[in-house]
Symmetry: C2
Subunit: 309 residues, 2 copies
């Protein structure tokens, strides 16, 4: 008697707002999100040198759309990019809004949501919106860094260049709130692999070997860094799509490249959060598991709605 | 800003009842469980050759105690072991009741619950109760098979032997309902490893090498079997405590023993359910993860109660 049913769809959004110094503004942003029914604020943090705040929340699509619009309502009248300064690059008061599929929801649904929210932001606030990553309509405008290059100050030039009309909204920046980058992407995994050596050159060569930009794996960004206090060289990695470039393949490739330099992997570490499926996938790989499905994970049977019980 | 809090405690119990042929009796058992607030019946199944039904449910301790007492109320007047027959050994109408820690609860709490339920069953129904596995007070009475040896029919002799007074209840069997075995244990994992050979002798030698009873790993039961349709030899394994004998250690030892016979592991498979932590543990091992905790698994942050949000 199978009693597994679909869990509620869960989408995550992590808006980045260009204000990290004035607590009363951050409080207004948080209050706007908290007042939205069906949305759970999981975390928020502000960085004053970056002058930026990051909010993490989950819900279904319609609740998150409402929360993001409320966030704009709180942010736009309070943030003026003509006077805002900080270390972090930005083109908008609400700078970036990614939607991330977590559970019971496809990437295609997150793309649809991103476009819907982008259009609503443009219409309601008169802010030009660029779609990015999976929601992008244009392969040269997929990358956040490319869209944001030139920042708020460079928007007048950029927006009048060929190929840089926004996806939604007016053809010029909002006077104080600039523009926004809204899109859909997989959850990021920040993953570091420490080597049993203090040779930074080895970590850098491994990073160059595995990262996409220099010929490595498609969804890997990587650099070599030195952990000065421990005298350990580290390959610091961002995995941008763990389904297509799984963590175990990255680990194995790093270990193999390290061996070529006479170095071994000391340990690895996950920074922040990781979806359970990324670790379950690694276990499936190393244990050579076949015929295994998520319905076999005990916790998933607990989450499923019971049938008429 | 950490917003992770404790999830609700979840305990699982899987009562085995000595009736698998009369649907109206099984229906009464199921109805008794379903009528208990705070309990979710995840699954139930009956086997008519075994003449036995197995119910799987989750809840917190007090809800499960109520559900088990209601189950006895339904079972005791309807099942008479003097006339019950079936292939499966049994000493009681409600034969075995294990409590299994799933989430946010310790084994010690499940032991306390098992003893509390055992005492209540003895008091309310006049049924002698033996505690088993982690709840046992006596090392020679830990094993279910040892307690059940002789079955219902052998109880009069057994109960009058030295060392076989029950933990709770009268010193003689209940006239129709016999005795019950109640206790606490870890979740079982049924795990098979298939070899790229049809040599059953190799599977048997590997099983003998890894199982506790013949000198192997403490929480492993294993045997070699032949998958006749695929002409593949299989090491069929029960893992009785995945925290103390982790699945990756079993896999690696099987692969090593197989290599000694010139054989490789073809694949492995999980039969039924597995706690996510068992697979996460395997990923941690092979990825050499350090400083990793369950609060870093995204789904766990979603389950936690938000703080005043």
């Amino acid at each position: 008697m199978a009693v597994i049913e679909e869990a509620m769809p869960i989408i995550e959004t992590i808006p980045n707002v260009s204000e990290g110094r004035r607590p009363e503004v951050v409080d207004a942003l948080v209050a706007a999100v908290r007042a939205t029914p069906g949305v759970r604020l999981l975390d928020y943090s502000s960085d004053s040198s970056h002058n930026r705040s990051v909010l993490t929340m989950v819900g279904d699509g319609s609740a998150l759309k409402q929360a993001i619009l409320s966030l704009y309502e709180a942010a736009v009248p309070r943030i003026d990019l003509r006077t805002q300064t900080g270390e972090h690059p930005r083109i908008g008061a609400v700078d970036v809004v990614p939607f991330v599929p977590i559970e019971g929801v496809t990437m295609a649904e997150c793309v649809t949501l991103a476009r819907d929210v982008g259009e609503a932001v443009a219409t309601r606030f008169g802010i030009p919106v660029y779609l990015y990553e999976e929601a992008s309509n244009d392969p040269v405008r997929r990358n956040l860094e490319d869209i944001r290059r030139g920042e708020f100050e460079g928007l007048p030039d950029k927006m009048s260049s060929p190929g840089w009309a926004p996806d939604f909204g007016p053809p010029a920046r909002h006077e104080t709130a600039g523009a926004s980058v809204i899109g859909a992407r997989m959850p990021l995994i920040a993953y570091n692999i420490n080597l049993n050596t203090d040779r930074l050159d080895v970590a850098r060569r491994i990073a160059a070997a595995i990262r996409h930009s220099s010929g490595g794996l498609r969804y890997v960004k990587a650099m070599g860094v030195m952990l000065e206090d421990r005298r350990i060289a580290q390959v610091s990695i961002n995995l941008t799509n763990y389904q297509k470039t799984p963590i175990h393949r990255v680990f194995d490739l790093v270990a193999r490249e390290a061996a070529r330099h006479g170095v071994a992997v000391l340990e690895s570490e996950i920074i922040g959060l990781i979806p359970a499926a990324a670790l379950v996938g690694a276990a499936e790989h190393y244990l050579q598991l076949e015929r295994f499905g998520p319905a076999q994970i005990l916790e998933n049977t607990l989450k499923a709605e019971p049938p008429g019980n």
